[in-house]
Symmetry: C2
Subunit: 246 residues, 2 copies
DNA sequence: CGAGGTCTTGAAGACGATCAACAAACGTGG
DNA sequence: CCACGTTTGTTGATCGTCTTCAAGACCTCG
């Protein structure tokens, strides 16, 4: 997502180090997890529903989404993943996928064998806790989405998503100056928000007409952070962006 | 929720042992976590938003709910907890509560100091993984609720909730013969489902008129499991009720 | 018996879905 | 570099689900 060629684990380390301090050995243990990088195209599954993968996938670059498909073909995206996220570390313990993970953009992904994770977690209990923590933050994001879907009107829900994405991208150096790249179609956004594509279109128009954002091509710009968070009732505490001993 | 006086850790052990085998030492290590039981009344918070508790709370008996309150006073419940659930083990790593946990019924709760959890997780890596697993299952439940809220009509969403609750209660011996006790008001149900109390009332009437359930007083009876799961598109895989090495 | 909470019902209204059509953007091949 | 086909975005009209408001019935518990 940016010009220079960052180390494949950089985003993950940034994400973790936003929440706690890593020792040099812990850092290099995490860095050594990546031995291979695969590239997936948009629309391709990184993991599919029902699979029992022997690896967990670290997203090095791109946007991915967890989703479920209903009988009638409707799709609901339950989480958006950005670089630095372990998109299916859950399998390490859940074993069988109860949902799929697909690529929104072209993605670089590092597969990490579960036995390497097992070794890492026994050798480095603190790192083990931090990986646990990452899954707990995923849970916190899920809860916030539930609140947004259940009790917020579509405009606030959409604004909330943009606030969240901006902060998450900023912590991995993939956003700055209230601007980020988010190459998603309005139909995909609908699957995230539980709305129809048509309604997403109208909500975005309203966000633009309120002068809160612009969205041209893949680039989102937030014009007024205060006003956007206000419209969204956005409170970043749930992202747990505080560095403290865990 | 049932007559005899079960050991306070029984439900938690049942819940865990539904997913993996515990050694006798692991069992007793888990049993020794409970040294005190507190009683909370309906409407009382077990933990509140913004707190930094030094203990995590194991629900011994009763129903509790995680929730967030919006600026306008609306409430969204993001998870229902039944006996055997660790309602806020998240704090062990998240440190600061980003939501509250309140009692739906009178609840018996065992507070477990975080330092005891820390010792347990270092002494018993396998138990540590299983506690992690429990939080991953919470995440899977959150995702399923997101799908239900985003893409299912109110009737299916409600049916889905009842299917889920029945299975979760059955694994802790708090339900059998398609019957369980669920003392919740329709307004509270609305906060769970993201619906108004009025609409909940109408949905329940329809579920009754379809002869799928009865709900008299606090007692829910499912008349036709097949038909209810069909209406809900319920697939229990997300509960990960399979005993295997984790 | 009275009071407060809960359930139920009706009527009106809002928010978002669906359907349909067209415009714009994109990518692909000629 | 243009032409064409496909995907994506936009707009309008209509429809349905769910909300809100209001009132009355029921129930429980003091």
């Amino acid at each position: 997502m940016n010009g220079r060629n960052a180390a494949p684990t950089e985003a993950m380390l940034l994400k973790i180090e936003q929440r706690d301090v890593l020792s040099p050995e812990e850092r290099s243990a995490l860095e050594s997890l990546v031995t291979e990088v695969r590239v997936y195209e948009p629309g391709q599954d990184i993991v599919s529903d029902g699979e029992r993968p022997a690896v967990s996938s670290l997203l090095i670059d791109g946007f991915a989404a967890r989703y479920k498909i209903l009988r009638g073909g409707e799709r609901q995206i339950t989480e958006l993943h950005v670089k630095g996220d372990f998109v299916d570390i859950h399998n390490f313990l859940l074993k069988i996928m109860d949902h799929g993970v697909t690529c929104i953009t072209r993605c670089q992904v590092a597969p990490v064998p579960h036995d390497r994770l097992a070794k890492l977690t026994t050798d480095y209990p603190h790192v083990s806790r931090l990986l646990w923590l990452m899954t707990l933050i995923d849970g916190a994001i899920h809860r916030e989405w539930l609140v947004a879907m259940g009790r917020r009107p579509a405009l606030a829900q959409t604004a909330h998503l943009l606030c969240e994405l901006y902060l998450r991208l900023k912590t991995v150096n993939a956003a700055e100056n209230l601007t980020f790249t988010f190459p998603v179609t309005q139909a995909e956004l609908g699957d995230v928000l539980g709305l129809s594509a048509v309604h997403v279109n109208r909500v975005l128009q309203e966000l633009r007409s309120m002068n809160l954002i612009t969205w041209r091509g893949p680039t989102v710009t937030i014009h007024d952070w205060e006003a956007l968070t206000e419209a969204a009732e956005f409170d970043p505490r749930y992202l747990h962006l505080l560095r403290e001993p865990r």
